[in-house]
């Protein structure tokens, strides 16, 4: 059985260089093809327009700017994504509470599980 992650194109939106490297390496270890990193909102939106993207890992705070416009654009396109943050999940506004959140620092197993869930097609009627 092939992993639901192999060859999938995952957009990384993360403003801290070293953390972005870490995410890229972790995603590559999981078999994903990494797009980005985008370090600010407009760059992420441009990548969304220009590239084929299957899923995204989205840092909430990009140099003091919230990444919610990127979340909205991803949701509008039906691209699944997971937020990444050092804040508590409670600090997300209500309208984004239903999206999955990965806490920083990253747990590789959780990153893999979360993306696998996002990228596994839902069975009809489930």
């Amino acid at each position: 059985m092939t992993s639901p992650l192999s060859g999938r194109r995952v957009l990384v939106v993360e403003d801290e260089t070293m953390v972005a490297w870490l995410l890229k390496d972790m995603l590559a270890d999981l078999g994903c093809a990494v797009v980005g990193p985008a370090t600010h909102v407009n760059q992420a939106l441009a990548m969304l327009d220009a590239e084929t993207i299957d899923a995204a890992v989205l840092d909430i705070n990009l140099n003091g700017q919230k990444s919610y416009p990127v979340a909205d654009a991803l949701a509008a396109r039906g691209v699944p994504f997971v937020f990444s943050t050092g804040y508590n999940k409670d600090s997300l506004p209500n309208s984004y509470q239903s999206f999955p959140v990965l806490q920083k620092p990253f747990d590789r197993l959780k990153l893999g599980d979360t993306l696998a869930k996002l990228l596994t097609p839902k069975e009809p009627g489930v």
Binding site: M18, V19, G86, Y87, Q103, K104, P105, F106, D107, R108
Partner: protein, 353 residues
């Protein structure tokens, strides 16, 4: 001040009443009029508790003129902009059926917001009937703003701590890449994650203390604590509130014990192994002490490790020092046993179950 002819009969009566107060209680009435604490009297005999007296501080607090306030229903005036829950609290305070003083967010006449705590007291006549209510207000706006700011700073601090830990994780993984075995990287990441989870719990509780059960649940969750298919953990004990330092230490120690169990101990075989974590608090002449026991069973036969690793060093020497307690770690053939005896922190002590 309004003209005499503009005044309602009610207001005139109220002023006459105040005047009679002034005669009897001169300095007290002057004090009420000039104190920095906002105060009003309301008429308990009329519906809606009309205001019959308001001091200058009340007027500057609410931004109203005196003529806009006198004769006006207290509930109506103060409920403006307040939510239904707050309104119910005020009503209860007037009826004397409330056991706490309402803390309420109001709007001034100009729309700006202020927070007050309201104290409502009945004023009775000679027959004991409530004829008036006396309400005083403590302005909590500054206090609330400071509290919000503190919350904001604490959130920022927690956020930065977790981001810094993520950066440390990134540096370590980059540095070790291709140089160290995967096992070393995994061990390092596991420890950083355990530390981060403890910080997360502490941040959630404003660094005031963390429940021992929460620490156990967070740290052992990746080892299958919540796994309902195979019950490999039994956790037993009344919850204890750990101070920050103890919470961090326990998080690291449980992480090391569980990692070791997953590699060599009770979590390393298919399903037979089990870990019992039990603790009790006992009174002693030196105060209360907690006795906690981690006991593994059903794993492969245990042998004493040749070299002292990070985990056993942390438990053997670090733990005793950090917790001011006595620690023993025994590699018994039937399973690892770790026992910790430590004083129970005084402040906070017990948490609600």
């Amino acid at each position: 001040m309004p003209n005499e002819e503009d005044k309602s009969g009610e207001q005139k009566a109220a002023e006459a009443e105040i005047e009679s107060f002034r005669k009897d209680l001169g300095p007290f009435v002057v004090a009420t009029e000039t104190t920095r604490m906002a105060m009003v009297f309301t008429d308990a005999k009329e519906p809606g508790n009309p205001i019959i007296f308001a001091n200058d501080s009340f007027l500057s607090l609410t931004g109203h003129d005196r003529e806009e306030v006198l004769g006006q229903s207290f509930n109506f005036l103060m409920a403006r902009g307040a939510d239904p829950e707050a309104f119910a609290e005020i009503e209860a305070a007037f009826e004397g059926s409330s056991d706490r003083d309402p803390e309420i967010c109001y709007r001034r006449k100009d729309g700006s917001v202020f927070w007050v705590s309201i104290y409502v007291n009945p004023v009775r006549d000679e027959g004991g009937d409530v004829v008036q209510h006396f309400a005083s207000f403590v302005d909590l706006t500054k206090h609330k703003q400071e509290k919000d700011r503190l919350r904001f700073l604490l959130d920022e601090l927690n956020h930065r701590t977790q981001n810094t830990l993520a950066t440390v994780q990134a540096i370590a993984v980059q540095t070790l890449h291709g140089v160290a075995d995967k096992e070393v990287v995994d061990a390092f990441e596991g420890r950083i994650l355990a530390l981060s989870k403890a910080h997360g719990l502490l941040g959630r509780e404003n660094w005031e203390g963390v429940s021992l059960r929460d620490v156990i649940e967070q740290i052992l969750e990746p080892f299958g604590l919540q796994d309902r298919r195979v019950a490999r953990f039994a956790v037993d004990g009344d919850d204890v509130c750990l101070p920050p330092k103890a919470a961090l230490t326990f998080a690291m120690v449980f992480h090391e014990l569980a990692t070791n169990a997953a590699k060599h101990g009770a979590l390393s075989n298919d399903a037979a192994g089990q870990i019992d974590i039990a603790w009790k608090v006992e009174p002693t002449p030196q105060g209360e002490r907690m006795r906690l026991r981690w006991q593994e069973s059903g794993g492969p036969p245990v042998t004493q490790p040749g070299r002292k690793g990070f985990g056993s060093r942390l438990i053997d020497s670090g733990l005793a020092q950090e917790l001011d307690g006595i620690v023993s770690l025994d590699y018994e053939p039937a399973g690892v046993v770790c026992q910790i005896v430590m004083p129970v922190p005084q402040r906070g002590g017990w948490m609600e179950p």
